[in-house]
């Protein structure tokens, strides 16, 4: 409950602060103004206890939000006023409140960095709490703007250039606190805040400070900030996934999806290493039918790498590219991504090809009864593919063999792929080949190995269905609009160019005139 007395104090203090904050002295010497405000707060006893402080700031947030919502409502009534004029009136109050919080965080308890970060976390928790309550209670009337402005302005203020190095000692704690706040506000939890959320997470300053170490992030470990940012992207893709999976694109989802593509394109362009390193977990979140979105992630390659022209190579030359023997950088703990009930017998089989009944049982082990819409556990399927591939590459290195369609043959590792390709039904095989195609990226050992797996399976399967389905998987990724991963291109080019695979002999390449034309077009482009 809120006592009227505290509400009254909040209004007095906020009114006093707003006039002080925009006054010339307030602009010129913010610290003095802050000192005056702290004095006033003490006189009103709003800083007396931890609870009082919490209650005071919660009421401040509610007060600012109410003022903004009322002003914007007047916009709807007095329609004549241009939106940005109304917006500026809202910003006037919101920005003053943000300035007060930022000054208190920056100058509280000089030297005691821990107090600064404690105050920041308290304020962020209060904002999240009020936002969540508002989102649940106001529902149709919920307006994200006030919270959107408070959060992004506070982020800009606190993480911006810090010439006095006041916040440098707690720079990572500050970024982590904001990362946790944005994660707590993710669209799956607050869909009504989703547009504001993506605007914040996709803001140039958030990207810059979490991924380019600008502002206070200069001295922060970029591995940690990249992981924080990736977690936010994954949480967002998990929200979009069901709607994209069903190609259910009402206007709101279409706008959100397009905005997501923009943000991911900026990441692909400026920070490709993030997508290289986290491609596995990100692609695991993307529905199998989101071909272009997945291609975008898989097209990333390390900035210093120069991609060989896929159209100018033949596969023999591809085999000799030095990077094709190098394991890609990854932070995955492979042992943990497969459930033990599969990994233990799998390890046993890979080592000794026993028990013989492991292969026939494997398709069932990959099924999941409860996941709606599919009978297979795609996460486990993807993990199995990558795990077997990594172990196969290790084994080749042990035997000092290069990766090639010959060296990968007749091994326990290839048994897994071959048997699954034969035993799985259409849906299962689609997911299996998807998992393999998700490894066709820039020149590295995984791209090399899995490209050879596809080529080997294509050549050695006795059943045209498998050749056709491999072709489908590659083709649907090629006919999608750009970008296309390098590994995908070299695999398909090899398939259609090298007579060993007899690609054009298969009936499915000419099953319909338009298909034949399409294949020819892609072949002409590739060759």
């Amino acid at each position: 409950y809120d006592d009227q007395e505290m509400t009254a104090k909040v209004e007095v203090i906020m009114r006093e602060w707003i006039s002080l904050c925009y006054s010339p002295t307030g602009q010129r010497s913010p610290q003095e103004s802050l000192a005056q405000m702290i004095q006033l707060m003490h006189e009103h006893g709003v800083l007396a206890t931890d609870d009082k402080i919490t209650q005071f700031f919660r009421l401040c947030v509610e007060n600012c939000v109410d003022i903004s919502v009322r002003v914007m409502k007047s916009e709807q009534i007095a329609n004549g006023l241009p939106t940005n004029l109304i917006r500026h009136r809202c910003y006037y109050t919101l920005d003053a409140f943000v300035k007060l919080m930022a000054l208190m965080i920056r100058h509280s308890d000089n030297g005691q960095s821990q107090n600064k970060i404690n105050l920041l976390k308290k304020l962020l928790n209060i904002i999240v709490g009020v936002l969540h309550m508002d989102h649940e209670v106001r529902k149709t009337d919920f307006n994200a703007m006030p919270y959107h402005r408070i959060l992004i302005s506070l982020f800009n203020e606190i993480t911006g250039p810090d010439p006095l190095k006041l916040l440098e000692p707690i720079a990572w704690s500050i970024l982590e606190a904001f990362g946790q706040t944005f994660f707590a506000l993710q669209p799956r939890r607050m869909p009504g805040f989703a547009f504001a959320w993506l605007d914040i997470v996709g803001h140039r300053n958030v990207i810059g400070r979490l991924l380019a170490n600008t502002g206070i992030a200069e001295t922060v470990d970029s591995v940690k900030t990249a992981a924080t940012y990736t977690q936010l992207i994954i949480s967002h893709l998990k929200f979009l996934a069901p709607f994209l999976r069903n190609i259910q694109l009402p206007k709101s989802i279409a706008i959100l999806y397009k905005g997501t593509l923009r943000v991911l394109l900026v990441i692909l362009h400026d920070f490709p290493e993030l997508l290289c390193e986290f491609h596995y977990v990100i692609c695991d979140t993307i529905p199998p039918n989101c071909v272009q979105l997945r291609n975008l992630i898989l097209s990333a390659f390390p900035h210093e790498m120069r991609l060989p022209d896929p159209f100018a190579l033949n596969f023999k030359q591809v085999d000799t590219i030095p990077e094709m023997a190098v394991e890609p950088k990854s932070n995955l703990n492979m042992a943990t991504i497969i459930p033990d009930n599969i990994r233990v017998p799998l390890d046993e089989y890979l080592a000794n090809r026993t028990p013989v009944d492991f292969l026939p049982r494997l398709p069932t082990l990959l099924q999941t009864p409860n996941q709606s819409g599919t009978k297979y556990n795609t996460t486990v399927m993807n993990a199995l593919v990558l795990y077997v591939g990594i172990r196969a590459i290790e084994n080749l290195h042990l035997r000092r063999q290069r990766i090639s369609t010959l060296s990968i043959a007749h091994t326990s590792f290839m048994d897994i792929f071959q048997n699954l390709a034969i035993q799985l039904d259409t849906e299962g095989r689609y997911l299996l080949f998807n998992g393999i195609a998700n490894q066709l990226r820039y020149p590295n050992a995984h791209t090399h190995y899995f490209s050879c797996v596809f080529l080997y399976l294509f050549k050695n399967s006795t059943n045209d269905t498998i050749q056709e389905q491999i072709t489908r998987i590659l083709f649907e990724r090629l006919v999608a609009l750009r970008p296309h991963p390098w590994g995908l291109l070299i695999t398909f080019i090899e398939l259609i160019k090298n007579p060993t695979y007899n690609f054009w002999r298969y009936e499915f390449t000419s099953c319909a005139p338009e298909i034949q034309r399409l294949f020819q077009n892609v072949a002409n482009t590739c060759v």
Binding site: L198, D199, A212, G259, L265, H269, D270, V291, Q292
Partner: protein
Amino acid sequence: LGYDLTTLGLSLNTQDRKLHRSFGGPWADSPIRAHELDVKVPDEYLTH
């Protein structure tokens, strides 16, 4: 689900890794222009 990603208002062919500095955000059809991009300027430049 396919978009021509070259029409989203991002100059993807720039060599430097600074697209994000003038990124107008997820809804922007064009980058932020120099006169819109707030940067830290010397105090004396704040002539207003």
